[in-house]
Point group: C2
Chain length 588, copies 2
């Protein structure tokens, strides 16, 4: 009869996850997790993705969830398996990606007494999980079947609502571990028919009160020198709405590459994409004194932008964010707890009603930003489009990708240098390319697996990353082989940690290469062969174009490596800024 | 002047780790950790090991620490880097391996506010670390330099004393991050000369009181049917002493392969190494009713042994363990809180004084165990030495390795099937081969890296593991390339999770291969090429012998793959037990 408990309790739990909207579960093989794995595989409406390495499994789930904007479940056996989830959980927590983590555990009588594959799993993800629950031993009593359904529903709700994040449920499981797949009550709910959720969850969209809206509308429309700063944010409704708001206020929009504002059908008139370049110039930072900064999304990538914002403490810093606290400048004077898209719509409506939004027309402030944008764009594009002497310039790969990528495809960008190069060199376009990255904790880990998860949901996904990040998550390549996924990986291989050459650490001749440069000298062609991928190494942009088109046409796992030189690359980057300063000085 | 704080505070900390006995630090590259990394690299008496992937870095450190039986330090930057340490930390905690984990962090004003590469690192390893401390911002004030030295000393003491385990210190660090390597006070201690520790730590060896010894001696010498059970334990003093005790009591010694009792110069007269085979036979379990079980070390690998111990609740179960609680049978009637080697010495002395230790001579009980051992050994050796029809038998690789391995070399054994095969098929010998494994949490993760860490300390290390474990930690191979290490890896490749074919899950035809068999079909020859290793795939034991000798002679990173078949292997294993039962039945 304990088998009946296992079958019906866990069956109800899995079934209710699905009724609450779960479509994907990433499973790593193991014995203790057997009943949940088997029931999940048996459920007709759940897709199972197998991944052997739990670290990769968790990042793969992160990619699925980021891409679909829906909770995804993870399942592993007891022991260190669960500890391998930790990096992806930390990332999901900070980047607000909904994950429902299910860990199998030994029952209580086998915990802490030296039983095999048993570690303390209670609350093992600490503050990185939004909600942890130790589940009971499975039982088939009616009250317990209700508990299974309510907990599944609650897990999905908790993971998915703002700020989205990680739920961890730990399941003590006793032998026998095999469920009875022939049980007539399996996946049946005594109270409901087979399609309805046990607890339907309707999420309210909190609107701002009339008083707050009125005050903000009055304040902003009276402020000419305003700036909208859009950091990483991935709501497809947002672009049109923030632009409508900006038009009414005539504020320039600083658009981080992950704001989804750089690429799309929307108007680009107010979008500034080259701030990272011109905000490196002290006189311009000095000149551009804002009165208000209206911020959406996570912190932008650009350090010059951060320094610019931090410097202007006289401005009123307003953050619109539905939850959390994302402001390393420590200068925020007003926090609006609202969903950005709804906020923009409400405020635009209010401004439209009251002022027709023309108070700031012909704003000299806006024109100055637009002029800087135009000139900087030209200098940056010229640098990125050129064939540099001395080797491939890493910035150019971004320019090339922007030309080559298909409309409505996805670019997943690695951390460290690639995201900074995308910030510098990806100009606005109308291709509607979705830009993704792991910018919660900005790790160089798990990038292959996350992009692999994205590729499972979105055709034509391209991953751009450096050689150390690629090495860190080589195991993620197995996903393409096991699941027949299409992913084109562009590896910028400067044989080491390229970013450190830009930092003060480069001044340490005795320790630099050992501790920071860290060349590892791997020939990734062998990695491609190991995982059944195609590999092309290119030495010119003409070769890159050909390789990229071939990769996209062939599908499957495709890798294109660009060998670059760290020292040359720093020089090429650094040669741009004086040119830009000169040009802007000549214009002012 | 904040630079002086960074230099002197962290310099004192690093210096005191070294004065307290630290010899190795495994460092992963990063920016925030710069001052500690640079000071560690600058310290003349500390060896730095670079490893890019923090998960591999932590297991590599685990291998160094297991092998040397001394604390080893880990250093990483802020963010998910630190989360990658978690699996090895969970393993180190349970297998009592001393690690001092140093994580760099943003300073307080940049925490929880969306600053890059910043996760909540306070107590992030939960109950898996013995001691966590949030460090202060570095300061050069005399009281703070004392604090740095005392904390370093305390960290080393805490990690190293029973039960050894993990200490986690989190360092908030502000820019500028570069220390001043020319500072005249660097690594100098105002109070002491340059060789002495700031706080010398002398560890007492707790002896048992006369009363307890007397009672135990009386009890045991009056009990003829006693059994000594030695689980994983790695104290070089232990073998001789437990054998001396067993001789006095005339008790057979059940010797797990990780007890270090199967291989060495000591007497094997009382050692039973084939219990896993004959304790599968119900009538023998029934027959062998012990009155006392005297247990040392962690839980043995053998499930038949566990079931045997659990069945005999009438016996007095005594556990000798200096700390912790390792007993999933839940039958322990007496716990002796003592170091096993010291306990054996004290008790043997007491028995020797009082009874000359001959009360149990000519014990029928012992003779029966010895007879079962002898017959089982023969059947097992015959099975392992045979050339099986239908493919390579996985048990035979253990037999072959035992013939081929050099005296005083080290065998690191993977979890899942390899450790069980070693348990079944490694017979006692006098080669003094050290047997190691990760049996704290028994994970299939991190095995390559752990063995790589061991190989850095011990010449002639051999790793035996399955193909899924090998895949899980391919990244660990980089260690051999970066540090020029010698490791011979024997990969039993049955293309999937071999152990599941032995479990009830094998009864699920619809889901078995997807969820449990999980073939991944990788050709590891490409992995060898990627990391600059040699690869040989062998199809017969003659080929294996040649390949192994060639690998050992060449040095460097050597991989030998044995393709096996999961179904054939289960059959070959299962064909042994009826043969053994028949033979033993015929003898009784």
């Amino acid at each position: 009869m304990s088998n009946e408990g296992t079958t019906l309790y866990l069956g109800a739990f899995v079934d209710e996850l699905v009724r609450s909207g779960l479509k994907h579960m990433v499973v790593s093989p193991g014995s203790r997790s057997t009943p949940i794995a088997v029931l999940a595989a048996e459920h007709p409406d759940l897709k199972i993705w197998i991944q052997i390495d739990e670290r990769s499994a968790a990042f793969f789930a992160l990619g699925l969830a980021k891409s679909s904007r829906q909770p995804v479940a993870l399942l592993c056996t007891s022991g260190t398996a669960a500890a391998n989830y930790y990096p992806a959980i930390a990332e999901a927590n900070l980047s607000r990606v909904p994950l429902v983590v299910l860990t199998a555990d030994r029952p209580h009588e086998l915990r802490g007494v030296g039983a095999p594959q048993t570690i303390d799993q209670l609350g093992m993800y600490g503050s990185h999980a939004k909600w942890f629950m130790e589940m009971p031993l499975p039982e088939a009593a009616p009250a317990m079947l209700r508990h299974a359904r309510v907990t599944a529903s609650r897990a999905m709700m908790t993971a998915g609502t703002a700020p989205a994040g990680v739920v961890h449920l730990n399941f003590p499981l006793r032998e026998p571990l095999l469920p009875n797949l022939d049980h007539p009550q399996l996946f049946a709910d005594a109270r409901r028919d087979n399609s309805q959720a046990y607890t339907a969850v309707a999420e309210a969209q909190a609107g701002l009160s009339e008083a707050v809206l009125q005050q903000l509308a009055a304040e902003l429309s009276a402020t000419r020198k305003g700036l909208i700063v859009c950091g990483p944010h991935d709501d497809p409704r947002f672009a049109e709405r923030v632009i409508q708001l900006a038009e009414l206020l005539q504020y320039p929009i600083i658009a981080d590459p992950l704001s989804q504002l750089r690429s799309g059908a929307h108007s680009k008139r107010l979008i500034i994409d080259s701030y990272d370049a011109f905000l490196r110039i002290d006189s311009i930072v000095e000149e551009l004194q804002p009165d208000v900064l209206l911020r959406f999304g996570a912190m932008p990538v650009s350090k010059p932008l951060l320094l610019y914002m931090s410097k202007h403490e006289q401005a009123k810093h307003i953050v619109v964010d539905e939850a959390g606290w994302r402001d390393p400048t420590l200068l925020v004077a007003a926090r609006v707890m609202a969903e950005p898209a709804i906020f923009c719509e409400q405020l635009a409506a209010k401004l439209g009603q009251e002022r027709k939004g023309d108070a700031n027309a012909d704003s000299a402030w806006l024109k100055r930003w637009q002029q800087l944008q135009l000139s900087s764009q030209e200098v940056l594009t010229e640098a990125a489009a050129a064939e540099a002497a001395g080797g491939l310039f890493e910035g150019s790969v971004v320019y090339q990708l922007q030309q080559l990528m298909n409309r409505h495809s996805t670019l997943f960008v690695g951390n460290s240098m690639p995201i900074r190069d995308v910030d510098s060199f990806w100009r606005t376009d109308d291709k509607g390319i979705r830009m993704m990255a792991n910018r919660g904790a900005n790790g160089i880990d798990g990038l292959v697996s996350t992009a692999m998860g994205v590729s499972a949901m979105q055709r034509g996904t391209v991953l751009l990353l450096g050689d150390l990040s690629f090495y860190h998550d080589l195991n993620g390549l197995l996903g393409a082989k096991l699941h027949g996924l299409d992913l084109t990986i562009v590896i910028v291989n400067n044989d080491g940690g390229g970013i450190f050459s830009f930092l003060p650490q480069a001044q340490l001749p005795n320790h630099f290469e050992t501790l920071f440069g860290t060349p590892i000298g791997l020939d990734y062609e062998h990695a491609a062969k190991l995982y059944g991928g195609q590999f092309q190494r290119v030495y010119s942009w003409a070769q890159f174009q050909q390789a990229f088109q071939q990769a996209q046409a062939s599908g499957g796992l495709q890798m294109i490596e660009l060998p670059t030189d760290r020292a040359v690359n720093v020089e090429l980057h650094r040669s741009i800024w004086p040119k830009l300063a000169e040009r802007l000085a000549a214009e002012s």
